[in-house]
Amino acid sequence: MSLFQALILLLCVVGFHGVFFHSSLGRKVFSWVLLQAGLVTFLFSLAPGGPALPKVLAVLAAAVTLSVGLGLTLLCRKFWKQYKSLDENDILKRVPK
């Protein structure tokens, strides 16, 4: 396993773990972006100078990550304005049943 592949593995595992581990919505979003960054890096690593398909997929994944990440960040901002916290347990307690 090369150093580059180790970086991909690290990004994916740390991101995947963070999505479930953190209770802060902001950290969850950041972890998900890390996971996606691992995927994009992996796709780019498949075809550094050859076939276009993995590059297209990588650009697609990067674009989706950016747009969904932006949407999730806006949602976090909305939650922060309303609850002054991004902790899922805090927010859950304050949501009217």
Binding site: C12, V13, F16, P51, V95, P96
Partner: protein
């Protein structure tokens, strides 16, 4: 959930390690060359679709597109479930309509050939409805339309959920 996250992360790490270690070296042409060159060189002849990206998305990668439609539907159902306890007033009918139409179209295209002893998502079965030479291209376009309808349903539910007076609560 935190304990489970360690287990899942370790499992993913082991799987990725196994997968990445088994890959051919970088710059090796065997990874994707045969697929992408086949798409480019024989796409139009095999699928009957002039546009290469429609041929790839709707025909060669039709299972991926169907998976994306299912993903949109599951996400939309998640939004509905998340709003079930807090926002009962946001109008969901238009979104559900788009979503239902898209899901029915996508899954219908997949399941219809099975009824006639064909394979799942085999667009040739549409020959009873359209010109046999254009059956694959029509099927690919219908599948793309199904995915777009699912996306429209998802976006409609998402926007209505978070623009409703109770949406942010």
């Amino acid at each position: 959930m935190k304990n489970v996250s360690w287990f899942l992360a370790l499992l993913l790490g082991a799987l990725l390690f196994y997968g990445l270690s088994s890959l051919p070296p970088r710059n090796s042409p065997i990874l994707t060359d045969h697929v992408s060159s086949r798409y480019v060189e024989r796409g139009e002849a095999e699928t009957g679709i002039h546009s290469i990206w429609v041929a790839v998305l709707g025909d060669y990668r039709s299972f991926d597109l169907l998976a994306v439609s299912v993903l949109f539907t599951v996400t939309a159902l998640g939004i509905l479930a998340a709003g079930a306890g807090t926002a009962k007033t946001f109008p969901i009918l238009p979104g559900l309509l788009w979503l239902g139409l898209g899901t029915a179209l996508s899954l219908g295209l997949g399941l219809l050939p099975l009824k006639n002893d064909g394979n799942f998502l085999d667009f040739e079965i549409l020959a009873f409805w359209t010109d046999p030479h254009r059956a694959r291209s029509q099927g690919a376009l219908l599948l793309m339309a199904g995915a777009l309808l699912c996306l429209a349903g998802l976006l409609s539910l998402f926007v209505r959920r978070f623009r409703s007076p109770e949406g942010g609560k």
